[in-house]
Symmetry: C2
Subunit: 158 residues, 2 copies
């Protein structure tokens, strides 16, 4: 359960950076990341579908395939999964719609995405880099950090 107690080799204290965090805290770091990865892609799909509907009037599998740079087969399979999760409704060969729950997720995800994107721009990051970084970072920002980012952005707006 604990770290190995045997064969302890003397370390050189003081000369290297921060100490290792306690095992439980350390484990929580990785667990949180694993959990985020489970929902990450689903959120991106739902958010994109919401954006397509908002900006283009409808969401087609081909658009998702192009914008995500992924095969149509991959999109088709994922749509089936989103369906099973109760996030989208779809009829074969027709465009996609979000369920209530899907719409909620899309809004939440987009809002979070926007906070991160605007924060990075406020920090001074170039727009296209900020967009790339935000696409990944958004899934790993806690509510606490998100609130701080939002406040920072407001104070540095203009």
């Amino acid at each position: 359960m604990s770290d190995h107690q045997q064969r302890r080799i003397p370390s050189t204290p003081g000369i290297s950076g921060d100490a290792l965090p306690p095992v439980e805290q350390h484990a929580k770091q990785y667990e949180t990341v694993r959990n985020a990865h489970e929902t990450e892609l689903i959120e991106d799909y739902v958010e994109l579908i919401g954006d397509l509907i908002r900006h283009r009037g409808e969401a087609r599998a081909a658009d998702i395939s192009n914008r995500m740079a992924v095969s149509q087969a991959t999109v088709s399979k994922m749509i089936r999964r989103l369906n099973e999760l109760g996030l989208v409704t779809s009829k074969p060969y027709r465009s996609l719609f979000l369920t209530e729950e899907g719409q909620k997720m899309a809004e939440t995800s987009r809002a979070r995405h926007d906070v991160v994107l605007h924060f990075l721009r406020a920090l001074g990051v170039d727009d296209s880099t900020a967009r790339i970084d935000a696409e990944g970072m958004e899934h790993h920002v806690s509510d606490e950090t998100l609130a701080i980012m939002q406040r920072f952005t407001e104070q540095h707006q203009q």
Copy 2:
């Protein structure tokens, strides 16, 4: 290739947030995230092995299993992979060592991790939250953003 040109449904311009980015740029966002995910776990393992060696004198599979909260079987399998990738050397039932390349990766990863962690603390994020967020964010921060974070931290140090 392009977004669907047919059946365009009129959208309501102006009332909703930012426009969708051009298809190529949008695709690059997701591609970059997918690429980061490919190396993410490997970097975390190598970084952790380096930290264990630095702080505890040696890296044992059981320590990794405990600190990552993952089964020993999972660790064992991953170590084989790190071996094949030329990042660690290991003999059965003995502790782990990093190759030259592994050491380089460990250092780079830890440096990046530290920049993100210290940045979050400088922003005002609570330490334990900062640690959790940094564990995920570190893999999605571009060099450009990293440099900006570092500068920010230096200016807000004390």
